[in-house]
């Protein structure tokens, strides 16, 4: 548990040393989402219609931006070997890295989402749903992403290959997440979407750290 906290703390510290990383992920999110109102025009009805999809795709892509850094730097300088050789459970350490990634690339999106939503003229209820959906969904994105990051460790062109591997896995999250917001904006029931998102999160939490840890070990061998 201490080691888990230590690794989260360390990763956050490293990010803070290079502030550009947090900022680029956030900035990217903002740019992608603000591009659409710019490109499509001020047709509010249209904007409101595409808002959930656009926001979720942007969230997904900005999560992706930070992903290749999750293990790559530690792999290149040999730290990852040291982590494998740590007496603590390596799976816990991997979970720590995932949590750190979410804190840097996921949480800020959740907090920023209302601002973006207002740009798309979403109503207050939809904004709340949007935030809640992101809160449930972005951890799943970080978790699944870690599998891709681990599998492509040390593989050249890893970042692009990684996107190819995990974007298909992201699609359920995208569909349920955007679906929830859309349903709420047209006044439909949203519990179904949320229970599915929750189920995804629980499933991912249960299996992914373990899968990623084995993938990293395979990469190091």
């Amino acid at each position: 548990m201490n080691a888990f906290i230590a690794i989260v703390h360390r990763d956050l510290l490293l990010v803070m040393r290079r502030k550009s990383e947090v900022l680029t992920a956030l900035f990217f999110f903002v740019i992608v989402t603000s591009l659409f109102p710019l490109g499509i025009g001020a047709d509010t009805a249209l904007l409101r219609k595409i808002a959930p999809g656009v926001i979720w795709v942007a969230a997904l892509l900005s999560t992706l931006l930070g992903l290749q850094r999750m293990f790559a730097a530690d792999y290149a300088d040999g730290t990852l070997e040291q982590l494998v050789l740590s007496p603590n459970s390596f799976t816990a350490l991997v979970l720590g890295k995932i949590v750190a990634h979410w804190l840097v690339c996921g949480l800020p999106l959740v907090l920023l989402a209302p601002v973006i939503g207002i740009q798309f003229d979403l109503d207050a209820q939809s904004l709340k749903v949007l935030m809640a959906a992101l809160l449930l969904g972005t951890p799943v994105l970080s978790l699944l992403g870690s599998v891709g990051a681990a599998l492509t460790l040390g593989v050249r062109g890893g970042s692009v290959l990684m996107s190819l591997l995990i974007l298909p896995l992201y699609i359920p999250v995208l569909i349920f997440g955007a679906g929830a917001v859309y349903a709420s904006s047209v006044g439909l029931d949203i519990t179904g979407h949320f229970s599915l998102l929750g189920a995804l999160l629980i499933l991912a939490l249960a299996f992914v750290p373990w899968v990623s840890a084995s993938a990293v070990k395979i990469a190091i061998e």
Binding site: N2, A3, A6, R10, D77, Q82, L85, N88, E221
Partner: protein, 215 residues
């Protein structure tokens, strides 16, 4: 060897043992049928020309890679069966320095202590850095340090890690002559405390009771 001096239990069986291990890289068999026994208080110096398989052997001993045949034992038990137990006794330093370039020496040390589950007071951390001549460089990010200074941070880690078994891959590289002497002293100290050391080096060492394995 006095018991007060020794921080780890002595034993009559070999602490680290490799049985009949074989290492294949690509289509090349680096070594096969290698046997190895190391007792508490012993230091093993693995020698051999470049590319003969020293690093590969060390990685097998740590469990990072698994041998294509044979097994590695720690106090008679296969290391695969007691990973966390073995890892808590083990310190491996490879060719790469495994330091975070953006963090300072002291932050690197304390981070590793936390990850390895060791309580390391700030004072101890500083003391270990000072011992190896890093006074005044504790708070520089590691990428500002010179090659030898980075290695010295690793020496400080050896001191603070409190592992029984040290596996070191060419630890003397990039160190100046004074630091080489200091590291050897550190190793001797560790051996006297019932530690074990396996290392590779192309230089000859001045450690008494050194065992040599020529690959």
């Amino acid at each position: 060897m006095t018991t007060t001096n020794s921080s780890f239990p002595a034993s009559t069986t070999a602490a680290l043992e490799a049985r009949n291990i074989t290492c294949v890289r690509g289509e090349r068999t680096l070594f096969s049928g290698l046997d190895l026994e190391l007792f508490v208080g012993q230091c093993l110096h693995i020698r051999g020309e470049n590319g003969v398989g020293k690093t590969s052997l060390l990685r097998l001993l740590t469990g990072l890679a698994s041998p294509d045949c044979g097994e590695v034992l720690w106090y008679g038990q296969p290391i695969k069966k007691q990973e966390s137990e073995y890892h808590s006794k083990l310190l491996f330093l490879g060719h790469r320095d495994a330091l975070k370039e953006d963090l300072s020496a002291i932050e690197n040390l304390r981070m590793y202590a936390a990850i390895d589950g060791i309580t390391l007071s700030e004072q101890d951390a500083f003391a270990s850095l000072w011992r190896f001549g890093l006074k005044g460089r504790e708070d520089l990010p590691v990428n500002c340090l010179s090659a030898g200074q980075k290695k010295r941070v690793l020496m400080a880690r050896m001191l603070t890690r409190r592992a029984q078994l040290w596996i070191l891959d060419e630890p003397f590289n990039a160190l100046d002559t004074h630091a080489v002497g200091e590291l050897q002293a550190l190793i001797v100290e560790h051996l006297q405390g019932n530690g074990l050391v396996v290392l590779t080096s192309h230089q000859s060492l001045a450690i008494s009771g050194l065992r040599v394995l020529d690959l």
